[in-house]
């Protein structure tokens, strides 16, 4: 325990507008499920002294179907809720699969989708699925709400498009044009940090996203373009190697990550159908 917890201040707004007003007058560090923040605090790696608790903002918790047939997931929805939700299982099963592999049950009961994205770890397990799903975020401030495609949200290593006075309010997932695929390759079989996360949506213009292979979770645009243009799988694999920039770190090597990323692209393509996209078929 390397942080003096009793000296830290916490504001506990009841409603989103109160939270946003507090944040405008900041600076404040938001806390939702605390599963990343408290790891940093315990290790003495979080210098913030003042925090704002989002856990009471009930309006931002929960999953709803949208008119266009997509989903709207409140930023404070936990991965346990996502994991067990039938609508998510129908609309984007890959997201349920990702939720199931985030930490153990204890983490899934606390960690929120908004927190996972805002924390902006390149290894965030939910980010690749949501990127491949073409998700958008609603970012709220006292000035109003703006919509930002998730693809524009991660700007640099651990940096996002979120302003200091903004909070993620919801994740919007449009209807998916084809079957989704998710695979996390972690440091062990459970309760692991990913070495490579791969998510894909099979469609005429396939969408592919990866985590832990660059400074931010990313869309593999070259590989997507190659596949959309009808190139053969191995050309897409070559293109994928241009999309990613993995490094050697504590958990793995760049060489291994490239090998696995290539293998997962092949697996995605083989498992989600023959030559033509088959939107009706589930993985």
């Amino acid at each position: 325990m390397k942080t003096a917890f009793s000296t830290l201040a916490l504001l506990r707004p009841e409603r989103p507008d109160e939270a946003l007003a507090l944040l405008r007058d900041g600076p404040l560090t938001p806390i939702a499920g605390g599963t990343d923040l408290y790891v940093a605090l315990n290790a003495g790696l979080c210098p913030s002294r003042r925090f704002v608790d989002l856990s009471r903002l009930k309006a931002w918790r929960g999953i709803a179907a949208t008119k266009d047939g997509g989903l709207r997931i409140g930023a404070l929805t936990t991965f346990a809720q996502i994991r067990d939700d039938k609508r998510v299982a129908r609309a984007l099963p890959a997201l349920c699969a990702a939720a199931r592999e985030i930490g153990g049950v204890q983490i899934q009961n606390r960690a929120t989708v908004g927190g996972n994205l805002a924390n902006a770890s390149p290894a965030a397990d939910s980010a690749p699925v949501l990127l491949a799903a073409d998700a958008e975020l609603e970012l709220a401030s006292t000035a109003g709400v703006r919509r930002v495609p998730l693809g524009e949200f991660f700007v640099a290593y651990r940096h996002t498009a979120l302003r200091a006075d903004e909070l993620i309010q919801a994740v919007l997932i449009p209807p998916q044009p084809g079957p989704s695929f998710f695979r996390k390759v972690g440091t062990r079989a459970a309760n692991a940090i990913s070495k490579v996360v791969f998510a894909g949506v099979r469609a005429a213009r396939p969408r592919i996203a990866l985590g832990s292979v660059g400074p931010v979770p990313l869309r593999a645009k070259r590989a997507e373009a190659a596949l959309a243009a009808g190139a053969d799988l191995e050309s897409a694999v070559d293109a994928l190697q241009q999309d990613i920039a993995p490094i050697d770190d504590l958990r793995s090597t760049a060489e291994y990550r490239r090998f696995v990323a290539a293998g997962l692209l092949r697996q995605f393509w083989q498992q989600t159908g023959g030559r033509r996209p088959a939107p009706s078929r589930r993985r």
Binding site: T7, R12, G34, G104, V105, N109, N191
Partner: protein, 177 residues
């Protein structure tokens, strides 16, 4: 702040960002909840927050306000499970045991072994290799005890080598021929 602790209302004056773990151990005197890592990795600090297992080393005590917190000291209605951890080898050194018991107490009754593994994947045990824990969960649900039966080495020596017909070949085996 107020919350319900093991069925009883408590009122505390505590700094809001203190870890629920520390407040339980230091302010409430309930030391059955253990700290193993401070990273939410080992699950030794597992408590139930409104019935759901969480890592109390990652919870600011303020977020427990108005909730029902259950620690090992207040685990009720799971005597069979606790007893089975004693008799079936679920507990060895015992430091992870409170966390395992709380996590295991929330498993659905009919959970398969795979589901038990999934449900307990957030708890680390270094003594048992988890086998004794699965046996304990199974026996608590009325499963048969499976005590090991040592046999003399000499008899093993005399045992003829696998004469029994191999069972139906696996799919993998068929592929390879």
């Amino acid at each position: 702040m107020r919350f319900t602790l093991n069925g009883k209302p408590v009122e505390l004056k505590v700094a809001p960002m203190r870890r629920l773990l520390d407040v339980l151990r230091e302010d409430c005197g309930l030391t059955g909840t253990k700290e193993g890592c401070g990273e939410g990795e080992c699950g030794a600090c597992t408590v139930l927050l409104d019935g759901a297992p969480v890592n109390s080393c990652l919870v600011p005590v303020a977020q427990a306000e108005g909730t029902k917190v259950t620690t090992i000291e207040g685990l009720r209605g799971h005597t069979k499970l606790q007893q089975a951890f004693v008799t079936e080898g679920g507990a060895q050194c015992g430091i992870c045991t409170p966390g395992f018991l709380l996590a295991a107490s929330t498993l659905p009754r009919a959970a398969s072994l795979e589901a038990v593994k999934q449900g307990l994947a957030g708890n680390l045990c270094r003594c048992t290799g988890y086998a004794g824990i699965y046996r304990s969960v199974a026996v608590a649900r009325g499963g048969a005890r499976a005590a090991p039966k040592p046999k003399p080495a000499a008899r093993a020596k005399a045992t003829p080598r696998a004469k029994t017909k191999p069972k139906a070949r696996s799919a993998a085996a068929r592929r390879s021929r």
